[in-house]
């Protein structure tokens, strides 16, 4: 084999590999693929495709084309090649024979669409990024994909108390439930994709753990700047199909997440060190800080076509290995109660001292 032949086959292999990654254009005949690639040597392309079938990288099957000149449509697999459902010709009666053509399929896993989403913000923020996100995604997609912007107000010192988390998570769970019912009634899937940031990730994890919301199921979940504990049992929720997949976007320069576990009960540095579950996709961005994800210039990059978040939400996950992907090898344990006792007590005192002001503030500025 000459170098040019090598490079030609390498080019084809790269093209097919790209199709598998995207989950698009995964079924074709050699003639169809040649047309798409602008190749003239169909015979050689077919030989190459036959070779990759031998490697187990594709399956081959015979399809049939209607022989009627004015039709020539490819018959669906579940149709006997004795009649055309499109032009209604019975080939036996018309003394014609369906034309066999070898087809190839690279993978059974196809791309998916973002049908609707829920975005949950973090603490101490009005999260203007949610509006930007909704606007950007609506413009990117060209089709209707509603974004439910979930707001629980400007949470400050109340995050220091675990019972408040549970109350807030119950409200979130109820909101999920009504949104899912509304989506179902409109013919949308009953699994929203979720983007959660910072304290929003903690609330989402509590919804998943709450038996009262065991009926709620979710699509693909992105946690950014997560304060969920690294050893959170994502595996169970994935096995039970409560969530379809999880992307944990880690900001290497996150200065807030490492402190969360000392002050916020039940939290951990998942958004700094990654999750230990092997099924979760941890991706680290070395340049990002705690809220860098939502700066307009970064956000539009993440959700545009081929951006990290868009790719995670739309591509098949088998071959999805984005840049910065890592596995957290070592285990993680929460700090001992003795170590957190002091900061938690301080936190409680702060809450006792200023909690009433925060509560009053929420009346005039929720």
């Amino acid at each position: 084999m000459t170098t040019s032949e090598d490079s030609l086959e390498e080019r084809w292999a790269r093209e097919l590999s790209c199709r598998v990654e995207l989950g698009e254009n995964i079924e074709f005949s050699a003639a169809l693929l040649a047309r798409q690639l602008g190749e003239s040597d169909v015979v050689r392309l077919e030989a190459f495709l036959t070779k990759i079938v031998g490697w187990g990288s594709a399956i081959g099957f015979t399809a049939f084309i209607c022989p009627v000149e004015s039709c020539r449509r490819t018959l669906p697999n579940g149709v006997d090649p004795v009649a055309c459902p499109y032009c209604k010709t019975n080939f036996v009666e018309a003394d014609a024979k369906a034309i066999p053509e070898q087809y190839f399929r690279l993978t059974p896993v196809i791309s998916r669409d973002i049908r609707w989403m829920v975005v949950i913000h973090g603490m101490n923020s009005r999260a203007p990024w949610q509006e930007t996100f909704s606007w950007e995604i609506a413009n990117q997609l060209k089709y209707s994909a509603p974004v439910l912007i979930y707001k629980y107000g400007w949470a400050t010192v109340e995050v220091l108390l675990a019972p408040v988390h549970r109350r807030m998570a119950r409200k979130l769970g109820e909101r999920f439930r009504t949104a899912i019912e509304a989506a179902r009634s409109m013919g949308r899937p009953d699994r929203p994709d979720v983007v959660a940031h910072s304290f929003g990730t903690r609330l989402f994890s509590l919804v998943l753990e709450d038996p009262g919301f065991a009926d709620l199921k979710f699509g693909r979940v992105i946690t950014a700047g997560s304060i969920i504990r690294p050893n959170f049992d994502w595996d169970r929720h994935l096995v039970e199909k409560r969530v379809e997949a999880v992307l944990n976007h880690v900001a290497a320069k996150d200065g807030s997440v490492p402190f969360a576990q000392w002050c916020i009960p039940g939290s951990g540095p998942g958004g700094k060190v990654g999750y230990t579950s092997r099924e979760v996709i941890n991706v680290r961005d070395d340049a990002f800080g705690h809220s860098s994800f939502f700066r307009p210039e970064n956000l539009s990059g993440l959700i545009r076509k081929n951006g990290l978040w868009h790719s995670f939400l739309t591509r098949p996950l088998g071959p999805f290995r984005p840049e910065g992907c890592f596995v957290k090898e070592d285990s993680w344990k929460p700090p001992s109660l003795w170590l957190v006792a002091v900061p938690r007590t301080l936190g409680f005192l702060v809450f006792v001292g200023v909690g009433i002001f925060s509560w009053l503030r929420r009346f005039v500025d929720p």
């Binding site: 698009e24 995964i26 079924e27 099957f61 399809a63 049939f64 449509r73 490819t74 018959l75 669906p76 697999n77 579940g78 149709v79 006997d80 004795v82 009649a83 459902p85 019975n90 036996v92 009666e93 018309a94 003394d95 087809y103 399929r105 196809i110 791309s111 669409d113 049908r115 060209k142 089709y143 209707s144 013919g187």
Partner: protein, 329 residues
Amino acid sequence: MPNEVLSTAQLKELVKQVVVAQGNNFIKDLLRATDSKIGATKQDFVQNLDGAIDEGRLTQARLEAWLAEVEGWGDQYVYVLSPPAIDAAGLTRAINASPVAHLNDAAVSPEFTEDLELKQIAVDGQHLSMVWHQGKEAWNRWSRKDNEEEEGVERYRYVAYRQRLDRSVVRFEWRFDDEYCLVLIHRNPEIKHHDVFEAVEEMLARFGCGDLPLRLVPLTQAIRTSAQRVNGVQSTRFEQDAGYVEVGSNLPGMGIEAVGPVRVVLQAVDTNQFARAQGMLNFVSLEHGTSRDLSVEVFGPEAKLRIWAQCKREDVLVILRLIWGYNAP
């Protein structure tokens, strides 16, 4: 005629007719099941099945059981209708007291008359089944036998047609637990569907059934629902008086779901805004439990299906059960 015993010669004649009319895949299944050699042509199949009859590997009972499984199932139109009103016990009594009582549990008839003729009735506590036969002679264009001749100064061209004998089976199927009954009509264009409905209703009236004539049950909702399920639709068309939307996949193995840009168009269609719908629905063996992948064309307002492949009884019943589920409002 119940349990009429066919002679070996009659059985072989029946086999010959069946081989001509049936799909090769099913005949190969029968050959395998009788430990016979398969062969490549219809002639081989007949020869090998004759051998199986001579050696006692293929009996009348076995052939009848196989025919009940495959003949009159697939490559046909299916109408979905509301069931008549009668209780199972009363129905059995009425059939046994009717002039067609002799057809109850009758053996498979090798004869296919030119007119639609009721040949079998089967009734028990769970279901009622009636089978009509119609034999039709037709001529297929057969260009391989075309020829030209010269006689003196004249030149003649002979255009050949080959005779085809269709064994067309029409069925009425009603499982009492189902909220629908079915009329299944072989694809033969010579069969007038209106005549079939009249024949079915005449029989049901004789058996004392109420709620006649049977009402068609529109399947538009089944297409709307299928348009939203994974691997659901090969092509679909939603219509209202002022316009229509039509989308489809050209891929032989995958439906609209696998064609991203078409898929999102279908997602954007509010199918409830369209009064009428038709579509080619895909049923995948691994997912839906059919014996093979099948594509079925559904004409919603006409309550009609066109099955474009030969299949087995269970396939048709599974598909209908699924479609009925999709049709729930």
